[in-house]
């Protein structure tokens, strides 16, 4: 009982709290006893070489994988073991490294699916177009168009989303995640496949998401981007956390330099 009280008081600052998370695939320890916290309103970066367990960590937090041990608390309540849709309902949204757009749906419809948790209409109401669903539909449509406007996509609203260029699909995915009205958003390598101009825009977008009061957890390979926008960074290597701190602290960390930044520094 006292420990629970303690946790509650701590969570007034930490929105996400990951404790001793462990998950292996066969003999591979993909995420090995990782712990960290993400304070409310922060942009937190996760870096590490390929195969360091970053995406696995995201999948554990979002519920698409189940941890073998360890706990995840979101807003002071445990979310480990919940199915993905329940975690989404709690207020955690995500994007994917490989972009998972809904095929055969328009850009607007893709974003409207993001509003699923924030609307109610069921099968019968949908079939009969009951007045309350008509009003709800109008609200969802307006909200989704707003988000498309924000991400610079209003003119493609009625196009097939899977026919868009890769960079724009990323923006659609982001709009869809924001439509969930999340408190925490997980961005999995959002700059992968983007050109330089798009990457600069992305940094702006991530900051404006934070300014909306949404906490951001971001996995990224683009070091300049992540050092630039993150308030704090977690460094993973072979599933283990090897460092955590601000960009300056992490950059100076001898362990981080050895496993990750070393080559880059030597070249630069």
């Amino acid at each position: 009982m006292p420990s629970r009280f303690l946790r509650k008081s701590r969570c007034s600052v930490a929105l996400l709290e990951v404790n001793d998370l462990f998950r292996s695939f066969g003999g591979l320890r993909a995420v090995d006893q990782v712990s960290f916290t993400v304070p409310n309103g922060m942009i937190k970066g996760i870096i590490g070489p390929n195969g360091a367990g970053k995406t696995t960590l995201f999948n554990l937090i979002a519920g698409s994988l189940v941890a073998e041990s360890g706990t995840i608390f979101f807003d002071g309540r445990p979310v480990s073991g919940l199915p993905p849709h329940r975690i989404a309902a709690r207020g955690i949204a995500r994007t994917y490294q490989n972009v998972k757009i809904f095929r055969q749906m328009t850009v607007l419809e893709n974003v409207m699916v993001g509003c699923h948790q924030r609307s109610r209409g069921g099968f019968l109401a949908g079939m009969l177009r009951l007045p309350f669903t008509v009003r709800e539909e109008r609200r969802v449509r307006a909200r989704s168009l707003e988000l498309l406007e924000m991400l610079g996509l209003p003119e493609v609203a009625d196009q097939d989303a899977s026919a868009l260029a890769f960079g724009r699909q990323r923006s659609v995915e982001l709009a869809r995640a924001l439509a969930l009205e999340p408190r925490l958003i997980l961005l999995d390598e959002p700059a992968a496949g983007l050109n330089i101009r798009e990457t600069v825009q992305l940094a702006q977008t991530v900051r404006s998401i934070r300014d909306l009061g949404i906490t951001v957890l971001i996995v990224e390979h683009d070091m300049s981007l992540i050092m630039d926008i993150s308030d704090e960074i977690v460094v993973l290597d072979f599933g283990r956390k090897i460092a955590e701190g601000t960009a300056q602290q992490v950059r100076r960390d001898p362990e981080v330099i050895r496993v990750y930044l070393g080559d880059e520094d030597a070249e630069g």
């Binding site: 979002a62 698409s64 199915p83 993905p84 849709h85 989404a88 309902a89 949204a93 995500r94 994917y96 490989n98 972009v99 998972k100 757009i101 809904f102 095929r103 055969q104 749906m105 419809e109 893709n110 409207m112 699916v113 993001g114 699923h116 948790q117 609307s119 109610r120 209409g121 069921g122 099968f123 109401a125 949908g126 079939m127 009969l128 177009r129 669903t133 709800e136 539909e137 969802v140 899977s162 026919a163 868009l164 260029a165 890769f166 699909q169 869809r176 995640a177 969930l180 496949g193």
Partner: protein, 368 residues
Amino acid sequence: MSREWVPFGALAATVILIQLVTMFTNTQYYLTQLIMAALYSIVVIGLCLLMGYAGQISLGHAGFFAIGGYTAAVGTTLNLLPHRDHVLVRMAERAGLTIQTTNSWGVDILYFSPWITLLAALLLSGVISLLIGIPVLRLRGHYLAMATLGFGAIIYYILLGSRFLGEADGIYDVPGFGLPGGFTFDGARNNRVLSYYFVWALVIGLMVLMHNLVNSRPGRALRAIHGNEPAAMAMGVDTARYKLSLFVLSAVCAALGGVFMAHYNGGMGPTEAGTLKAVRYVAIVAVGGMASLWGTLGASVVLNFLSLRGYFGSLDDAVFGVVLITVMLVAPDGILRRLGMYTLRRNRDTAPDAFPVSAEKQVQRGTA
């Protein structure tokens, strides 16, 4: 009226036009096959949603069709007169839920109102589909196809083996379905035109409901599941529940078709539950383009009409089997969509750009 409803208006106009043409050319007998084609279409409209939008194949819809038909047939042919003193029969009679008449053999009978058996049929198919769907739809992949294949076979052999259900003869002497205004839906020749309009009104109504569903919150969720299931879950869609709801809805549609078929034909036999019938429904949805309500309706009316007129002769079932294989090999998106793409491609010089492979597909191909 917005453009959205133009196709429905066009369908209604076509229905009326066909009736007028058959009247003036004295070919009213075609209406019989068009009525039956419409009843089978009710099944495939529901199945189209399940296959096209939830990505699940059911080989049990002939079973649900038969459950609907047999429930209606049993309920409206069971003579309640010997049990008139039973408290439930007395209550039903007092509530006006029974009908007393003399059947074609000159025997006085008392039977349940078709409205009651209609409700019972829809309820029964809903409950059974729920019981099958709950365990099966938790699993990803084509487990539903396997489970429903078994289910269809079980229903078929139960019908074939139960004396109460008429064994191989099925149930006959099913009365017509009494509708408001003193009109009866049945296979009698002088009711044909009205039966035709009634059943097509039912189809159009169902199409409107399904069209609304596809363009509503649950419809979007279902299409999202089909578009990318993990992402749909991450957006808060309870995918298992949505698939289950759609499976139940489609099963209830199949039962609805079965109920009216029993009243129209005046009976139902066990072949309606056969696996070959189930394959036929799946083939029709595949021809129509899986996720296309209008394509499926078109394919259903044309194929069922030709089949019922006997154009396929003794190869009837084989034709549907060949159709299914051909569609899967040549045009898995449906014949109509493939034809549409072909004409588009001929009209444009930039063929590859007209149908770009999505970035996601490229990535999947790279990592697979």
